[in-house]
């Protein structure tokens, strides 16, 4: 028992260890003989057993003892306990499957260049249709279930939509406009109040599209800039990535 602490700092306490070793010398010799005799006996399927001893409190005598088998041995074969928390591994596996390029993860990572709460984002659907743009009220980070909440006004009615960022139906997410100053809240629920409501982001999206058309070099790139389908979205994401660099 007193040997265990030596394992951690074998050189730290050389003097005491040597003293202990001298005491153990006799013991080790005995052990050596015991081992030899063990090897002579026929091989047993039983692993080396520990004994759980129950000692009488008053008399300090051994009351009873039971053999306790090691938990890593099942039916004479070795087993190992599984890792305590498999959830991160599963999440990692799922994210790798749904986002092989890592673009979606990078867009909502906790980095300087990533999209943040308060930015105006535009989400395009895989099967085309009108992309949904809005101000990002919150980012719910839950591994593969990570989602964003966008708020916009459609026909003077406030509309909020949740998007799972790793869903295949979400073909692309683009940053239309960044918030000037970092939001000091994680969830901007106050932006639902009339005092803080941004209203419609239509004009912002319009201006952004116009700017892109101006800056786009190729003809094809300009035509697809509306983020119709996966190709356009990928291109847009590439731009996000380029900005970071």
């Amino acid at each position: 028992m007193n040997v265990a602490p030596l394992a951690r700092r074998p050189l730290g306490c050389l003097k005491t260890s040597l003293r202990q070793a001298r005491q153990q010398k006799m013991y080790s010799q005995q052990m050596a003989t015991a081992v030899k005799s063990k090897s002579k006996s026929p091989p047993s399927v039983l692993p080396p057993l520990n004994y759980h001893k129950v000692v009488d409190r008053r008399t300090r005598k051994l009351r009873t003892a039971f053999a306790v088998y090691p938990p890593t041995i099942a039916a004479a074969a070795k087993t190992a306990p599984p890792i305590p928390n498999p959830m991160p591994t599963i999440d990692e596996f799922q994210i790798k499957r749904m986002d092989p390029t890592g673009a979606r993860t990078a867009l909502f990572a906790k980095t300087r260049d990533a999209a943040r709460v308060g930015d105006v984002l535009m989400v395009s659907h895989r099967r085309g249709g009108e992309p949904f743009a809005g101000v990002c009220l919150s980012i719910r980070r839950r591994g593969i279930d990570t989602a964003i909440l966008l708020r916009n006004h459609l026909g003077k009615v406030g509309v909020e939509m949740w998007f799972k960022i790793y869903n295949k139906n979400v073909a692309g997410i683009e940053i239309v406009k960044r918030r000037k100053k970092r939001a000091r809240r994680a969830r901007l629920t106050y932006m639902r109040k009339p005092k803080h409501d941004m209203g419609s982001v239509e004009d912002l999206v319009f201006a952004w599209k116009k700017a892109r058309r101006v800056y786009a070099t190729g003809k094809g790139g300009a035509a697809k800039a509306g983020a119709k389908g996966a190709k356009g979205a990928k291109g847009a994401k590439g731009k996000v990535a380029a900005k970071k660099k």
Partner: protein
């Protein structure tokens, strides 16, 4: 296994013998049985009570243990299930954009401990254990049980009924997630979250009472519990009332398995499973679906045999060891038996001692050189 002692004789039987000798019964004028039952001078044991013998040509009895087992065979899975721990929920995102919520269940050193048989226990079942428990937190009777099985103390034990002897397994083997296959339907049983003492509205979905119209301090109460005098002025048994809610066993049937992983020890099932994270869950082949294909069952059994070829020898050795230790405990000779083995250094400890000795030698040699 400990040998069973003969059942102690009922004291009442012993007492009744001198009080009611058989010679008195002939002369007694009052009978304890009504007239319509008839009477007999034969002692009660000798009277034929079981007319419907297998040889009598009558139909098999539709009641009794054998009939009950036969009746339930249809709804009993052919193989045992496993214990698992609920680790949490996640989702699978499909290629078409579908999101499938799923629950992650982890198998931690799931081992078989006992086969229950029709002959000895009255039914077929497999006892299975999960996890590991500190032996200091296990009582002496259970320590003896684990000792006899050659298995480390388990966190929890549970029993899975199987249809017949074909469902029994070797003792001590570990069941891994590949006991099931992807796409298989399973039933998952666990205890739901306890909600504490809950009112009628939360517990049974009662509508409560109105907020106004003269209502006074009775907005969430259950109201009347039954009709009055004409109907007996009583509350019918089983009346839904406030009380403890939750923490009861919930079975979710026919959940498909989406993923299995032996390294992580996980089984991922579609949908939700009752209980909080860390809840202990029983997974077994679905009752209401056809059993797994024969080839698959054979494959899993072959895998068990391959992984644990020495299971039977191990069990036998453990039993012998247990009998030896048991005798020693009974005869108070434990100290003699364990005297040598009270503390055995592990390989690591032995190595450390050897290292230190070697170091000491080297140092001594160095000193000599210096001298």
């Amino acid at each position: 296994m400990s040998t069973r002692l003969p059942a102690p004789r009922c004291w009442r039987q012993q007492l009744s013998l001198p009080l009611r000798p058989s010679s008195l019964r002939q002369f007694s004028t009052t009978s304890s049985l009504p007239v319509k039952s008839g009477w007999s001078t034969l002692p009660p044991r000798a009277r034929p009570t079981r007319f419907n013998q297998p040889t009598s040509g009558l139909p098999l009895p539709t009641t009794g243990p054998a009939a009950a087992l036969k009746r339930k065979a249809q709804s009993t899975p052919i193989r045992t299930g496993v214990l698992a721990i609920k680790k949490g929920m996640t989702a699978f995102m499909g290629r078409t954009g579908a999101r499938i919520p799923c629950t992650v269940l982890q198998l931690d050193r799931v081992q078989t401990l006992l086969n229950k048989t029709r002959k000895d226990h009255g039914y077929w079942a497999v006892q299975v254990g999960l996890g590991a428990r500190n032996p200091a937190n296990v009582g002496a009777p259970m320590l003896g049980y684990y000792e006899a099985k050659g298995v480390a103390p388990k966190e929890i034990l549970a029993e899975f009924r199987v249809r017949d002897e074909n469902g029994l397994l070797p003792v001590g083997v570990e069941l891994k997630p590949d006991w099931f296959y992807i796409g298989q339907r399973v039933d998952v049983r666990s205890n739901s979250r306890g909600q504490g003492f809950a009112g009628g509205m939360k517990r049974h979905g009662f509508s409560g009472q109105e907020a106004s119209h003269g209502n006074s301090k009775n907005h969430r109460t259950i109201g009347s519990v039954g009709p009055s005098q004409g109907s007996g002025s009583r509350v019918l048994p089983g009346k839904k009332m406030p009380g403890r809610m939750g923490n009861e066993r919930v079975t979710v049937q026919n959940l498909p398995i989406l993923m299995i992983d032996n390294d992580l020890g996980i089984v991922v099932v579609k949908g939700a499973v009752a209980g909080p994270k860390g809840a202990i869950v029983k997974i077994q082949d679905a009752v209401k679906k056809p059993p797994p294909p024969k080839e698959f069952v054979e494959k899993t059994l072959a895998a068990l045999k391959e992984r644990f070829p020495k299971a039977e020898e191990h069990l036998q050795a453990a039993r012998e060891k247990h009998l030896e230790l048991k005798a020693a405990r009974r005869e108070k000779k434990l100290e003699e038996l364990l005297g040598k083995k009270l503390w055995e250094p592990t390989e690591k400890q032995r190595k450390i001692v050897e290292d230190i000795l070697a170091m000491e030698k080297g140092e001594a040699a160095g000193k000599e050189k210096r001298v």
